[in-house]
Symmetry: C2
Subunit: 191 residues, 2 copies
């Protein structure tokens, strides 16, 4: 599981408590690319502990803040880390877009309303494209190239989505979603 990889990866750098992991993920802009819910985080940490991949180093009681349990990665954990890293690179599952399950039934919905929703999605995708571009530009030269690739990938995918939605919107606006249609040029860059 990718969250375990994330936790172990950060613990390779130094000992941490779960909340600190959360903070670090945010700080490094990884939150823009990887979702981390509190529940999953603490669950994953518990699993890792149970499997002997991380150890409790100690509990810090700072005056009147809640206790913070600090963890360290073990030898076992380093092994799992390597496995998960390779696994993540080895697995080959096709990414699924939420619209994929909706599009086949688009003709049953109110066309005008759908066009509106698609328009909003397009706006978001364009914002996302711009944001990812900025994040990328801001990190050039300061982070390892693999991280740059991560940001680049996010930008490219966002841009592709925008391009996709732009055409979808055109057809939606003209109420063509339900009719059998001819081909268009999938590779054209018609922005």
């Amino acid at each position: 599981m990718s969250l375990k990889l994330l936790i172990l990866g950060l613990l390779m750098e130094r000992e941490m408590h779960p909340y600190e992991i959360r903070q670090l993920v945010k700080e490094r802009r990884l939150l823009d690319f990887i979702k981390v819910r509190d529940g999953s985080l603490y669950y994953a940490v518990d699993q890792l502990k149970k499997d002997g991949c991380i150890d409790v180093v100690g509990v810090v009681k700072e005056s009147n803040r809640p206790d913070r349990t600090i963890y360290r990665i073990t030898e076992q954990g380093r092994k799992l880390f390597q496995e998960l890293l390779m696994q993540q690179f080895a697995q080959n599952k096709v990414i699924e877009h939420p619209l994929y399950s909706a599009l086949p039934f688009a003709r049953y919905g109110d066309q005008a309303r759908l066009a509106e929703l698609i328009e909003r999605k397009l706006e978001r995708a364009e914002e996302q494209t711009a944001r990812m571009r900025t994040v990328y530009d801001e990190h050039v030269g300061t982070v390892p190239k693999s991280v740059l690739h991560l940001m680049a990938g996010c930008y490219m995918h966002a841009k592709t989505e925008a391009r996709w939605l732009r055409r979808l919107l055109r057809d939606a606006k003209e109420g063509r979603l339900g009719v059998k249609g001819e081909s268009w040029d999938l590779d054209a860059d018609d922005e």
Copy 2:
């Protein structure tokens, strides 16, 4: 949940039993875009029944085949369908690539091995691009345009992934993943 949308959408056409839904999804090539595990399918059907969105029409006992429970969509179900459809178009979550959680830690792994894995991923992405292109071409003129858009989206995303991986592979092969690197042209179409 998108699986419920799928089930209700197919039941809009006619009454069916769960296994038939599975078959239909396969037949229409939707399986290429949407994953449907048996467990989830039967679970979702149970939920829909419990919520009164579908009714049991009857159980067919064909000689010595297992019984097939046939379901029909209810008025309630049609309402939920509309809701889910709109929800699916309205939701705006960024797609997450499995590599996103691995790339930040790529420098801790064996570089040669990673390059190999990336190469394999690239091959798969190229195959997927070609397959999706074929699926698209095969369906032009015979399916509603929204379905064509679905296939087009899948093709475009696969193509983008291949373009992304191609550059990643170049850096991985030269062991540059761990070093701080300069910018490259994200929009170039260097195939």
